[in-house]
């Protein structure tokens, strides 16, 4: 079990780190898809089957498409779409800040008494249970998420739509 987890973790971290470092935007996006798929695998490993499939469907199927479309739509000239590290200063600062965050969180995780509860066999949650939860105690949240998604859909269309009147030649 732990071995599987470590493999999954390596895939996720490797793919995401490569995505963040890649100079090719398309490769970045595709590597991120791998990372997302790895996260879905992690969910499967943890027993959250439904969430895993949802993650795959939404991230691998939908978000990746949006990202790829955006990359193609915002491409400038060169087909390789090169992305440079425009400033070493920013990269160093970013790494330093991320290192700080990492250190703090690492300290917090290692310092917490989490070892006490070692769980039991992989819990499962059936689709039916989830559905009952969503339709029962979490129904208001579900409604709000529905409204949010609708608003986001409309908002994205309004923002991205070409405004005929101010279109410049």
């Amino acid at each position: 079990m732990i071995l599987a987890l470590i493999i999954i973790a390596l895939v996720i971290l490797g793919a995401s780190a490569a995505a963040m470092l890649s100079r090719n935007l398309i490769h970045s996006a595709l590597l991120l898809v791998v990372a997302w798929a790895g996260i879905a695998a992690f969910y499967l490993w943890a027993g959250a089957e439904f969430v895993a499939f949802a993650q795959a469907l939404i991230y691998v199927g939908a978000v990746s498409m949006i990202v790829l479309f955006a990359v193609l739509l915002t491409r400038q000239g060169a087909t390789a779409a090169p992305v440079e590290f425009d400033s070493w200063r920013r990269a160093v600062l970013g790494l330093m800040v991320a290192g700080g965050v990492m250190g703090v969180m690492f300290g917090a995780i290692m310092g917490s008494p989490l070892d006490g509860r070692i769980a039991s066999p992989t819990p499962t949650i059936t689709v039916k249970q989830l559905g009952l939860l969503l339709m029962g105690p979490y129904a208001p949240a579900l409604l709000i998420v529905g409204v949010l998604l609708t608003v986001a859909l409309l908002g994205a269309i309004v923002i991205a739509a070409v405004d005929k009147s101010e279109e410049t030649p």
Binding site: R90, L93, G94, V97, A98, G100, V101, V104, M105, G107, A108, G111
Partner: protein, 669 residues
């Protein structure tokens, strides 16, 4: 089955609803508006018939329904509905004539783009007119009276794009307003004197003997109070019914669509003045028993009526516009009605009102039919020869003409005119009105014969006339019905005056007295014969050829054709006076008031200058300094807004690290 007074409000409410429907439908909804108007009017007619049934069961009673409108301090203003035979007959007449004219209008207004508005206005008019009739309060009557005036204004000016129509609407509105001012003054005086405006209120109404006794005291000018009030109210009737000297608006009102002329300016609205005087007859007659007054109210009414009757007939002789002839004929006939009231027989007046409503509506609709067929040619000199082309119109028009002329026995006009002549003959005060009326009868027969001869005989004298053809059933059927009524109505009066008895049971029957019938027949025959001799025997051949009468008295005819110069007279007197006042007002405005205003403005400007100096030197400097500090601070702070999203994110993350360290350290302690 009868309609109790409690439900009388339904009669005006129905057309009001139709008006609302008409107002709310889009312009394309003309069929809906017309349908609603006709349907509701048919319903109102049925209800009016039921009401008539109820009223005839108790001819002497005045059924009333009074209610408080609003409280004004200790007194409350009360309105009411009244059902008596006068109301009921008027309701039936108005709803019936309105219904027929509405149906006629569907044909006449077929091509007009604003037809739905037209039906809306017509329904509004009918509602107001019916409200006027059923009112048991002079106030409610006045409100409806003004509403009727408004509807009349809207309908005369319906073709407002024609300058003449717009001017005529304005003229009608303003002229009647002059009379209404008198009406309003009388109304206020009455309210002040009696504390109520209800006609009948169980002994407390203004038309009941207890109240009338309050008004017999003499005023400083020598008139009795009731005389003064009655004459003021009569001013309103003069305006509305087109009596001398305020008759000038009525002929001009013929600029409106012909159904409007038929409905409002011939059959119903102009009769409202007669109805009003008949309604308040007890008030008008309250001074009859006083001997020491210079003049009685009814005497004035009689003389005004006689003058109007004769003058209208005279002017009608010299007019050439088909609708104007009929309009002056209406003025003349209304004069007859007023004369009848003035000589003490309001019943005869109402009888003539009812018969006149039918045959005058018939004549106007007939004229409308001719005008519609002849493509809006109204000049009788340019018409002619329509008899073979428009048989139905001719036949019905001829019936109307004979009824108006008073052709004996078969036609209703004969009997009602007979009653008026009889009443005038029996008047003790003066015999002048009687002779005026007699002369009017001859003239009426004469000009009506002239009208028929010019329009229907001879040869067509214009392209429009030669291309005329009979109209659709929507227009001819109402004509036929009205013609039938004009004949049938005579049955009500002959041989025994059933109608008169129903209207006023207290009046003694005078039907046996037939002494005036023979002279009257002779007079009518004289008029008809003269008319035929001048116009019928040798019909006009060209539109330009002069009128036969011009040869005999060109000056008189010119004066008559010019309507005796009333319009010029008013323009020269009232108009000049008012424009003089306007000039004076303008002078005052420009030189006196404006100077004062400018002086004040200058003062204000001066003080503004002073305070501005004060501000700039004193306050502003302080505020400027304060604002500069604020702005500088803002600029300094806005330096933090680098626009670098990465920087923000970094700061955010660092803040998160600091916060977490704080929490960890705090937790450790």
């Amino acid at each position: 089955m009868s309609l109790p007074v409690q439900h009388l409000w339904l009669i005006p409410a129905l057309p009001l609803a139709a008006a609302a429907v008409g107002a709310l439908t889009p312009r394309s909804g003309r069929t809906l508006a017309a349908g609603a108007a006709i349907a509701t009017m048919a319903g109102a007619f049925l209800l009016a018939c039921l009401a008539l049934g109820g009223a005839l069961d108790f001819p002497a009673a005045h059924q009333v329904l009074n209610f408080a409108w609003f409280d004004l301090g200790a007194t409350s203003l009360r309105l009411g509905l009244l059902l008596d035979p006068l109301t009921a007959f008027m309701c039936v007449m108005v709803t019936f004539v309105s219904l027929l004219i509405f149906i006629f209008s569907t044909g006449y207004m077929k091509a007009d783009a604003n037809a739905k508005q037209f039906f809306c206005f017509l329904s509004l008019f009918a509602a107001a007119m019916l409200g006027l009739i059923i009112a048991n309060s002079l106030l409610l009557l006045f409100v409806c009276w003004e509403l009727v005036g408004l509807a009349s204004y809207l309908l005369i000016g319906f073709w407002f794009h024609k300058p003449a129509a717009a001017a005529a609407a304005k003229k009608a509105f303003i002229t009647t307003r002059i009379g209404d001012l008198g009406f309003l003054l009388g109304l206020l005086w009455l309210q002040d004197a009696q504390g109520t405006l209800l006609f009948y209120d169980g002994g407390h109404g203004i038309l009941e003997s207890a109240a009338l006794a309050n008004l017999t005291h003499l005023l400083p000018c020598g008139l009795a109070a009731s005389t003064a009030i009655g004459l003021l109210i009569f001013c309103g009737a003069i305006g509305k019914s087109g009596q001398f000297p305020l008759h000038v608006w009525l002929p001009d009102a013929m600029e409106g669509p012909t159904p409007v002329s038929a409905l409002i300016h011939a059959a119903t609205m102009v009769a409202a003045g007669v109805f009003l005087i008949a309604r308040v007859y007890p008030l008008m007659a309250a001074d009859q028993l006083l001997a020491n007054v210079p003049v009685h109210a009814l005497t004035v009414v009689a003389f005004i009526g006689a003058i109007t009757a004769l003058m209208g007939a005279l002017i009608a002789v010299a007019q050439n516009d088909i609708k104007r002839i009929l309009a002056f004929s209406t003025v003349s006939q209304l004069g007859y009605m007023m004369l009848a009231i003035g000589v003490g027989s309001w019943v005869a007046a109402i009888f003539h009102l009812l018969t006149h409503a039918f045959f005058k509506a018939l004549l106007f609709l007939g004229a409308g039919s001719v005008i519609h067929a002849a493509h809006h040619e109204q000049d009788i000199r340019r018409l002619g020869g329509l008899r073979p082309k428009m048989k139905v119109t001719f036949a019905t028009f001829a019936i109307g003409m004979m009824a108006l002329s008073g052709v004996p026995f078969l036609f209703s006009g004969f009997w009602s005119k007979e009653a008026i002549l009889h009443a005038a003959h029996g008047w003790e005060v003066s015999s002048l009105p009687f002779y005026a009326a007699v002369l009017g009868v001859v003239l009426t027969a004469f000009y009506m014969t002239r009208l028929v001869a010019e329009v229907f005989y001879g040869a067509p004298r214009s392209d429009e006339a030669s291309h005329a053809h009979e109209n659709s059933p929507a227009m001819t059927v109402p004509l036929v019905i009205l013609a039938a009524c004009s004949i049938l109505f005579s049955l009500l009066a002959w041989p025994s005056p059933w109608l008169q008895h129903q209207l006023d049971p207290s009046a003694h029957s005078e039907s046996g007295d037939m002494s005036l019938v023979l002279p009257s027949i002779v007079l009518v025959a004289l008029g008809l014969g003269a008319g035929w001799a001048y116009y019928g025997r040798r019909p006009r051949t060209k539109a330009e050829s002069p009128d036969p009468l011009d040869r005999y008295a060109p000056g008189l005819m010119a004066a008559l054709a010019n309507r005796l110069g009333f319009d010029e007279l008013y323009a020269a007197t009232v108009g000049r006076l008012s424009s003089g006042f306007a000039t004076l007002a303008a002078f005052l405005e420009v030189f006196v008031w404006d100077g004062a205003v400018r002086f004040l403005a200058g003062l204000g400007e001066l003080s503004g200058l002073v305070s501005r100096e004060n501000d700039e030197a004193g306050f502003n400097a302080g505020f400027d300094a304060g604002s500069k500090t604020l702005r500088d601070t803002g600029v300094a702070y806005s330096k933090a807004q680098t626009g670098d999203a990465h920087g923000y994110l970094r700061t955010l993350a660092l803040g998160f690290v600091l916060l977490l360290i704080l929490v960890i350290l705090g937790g450790a302690r």
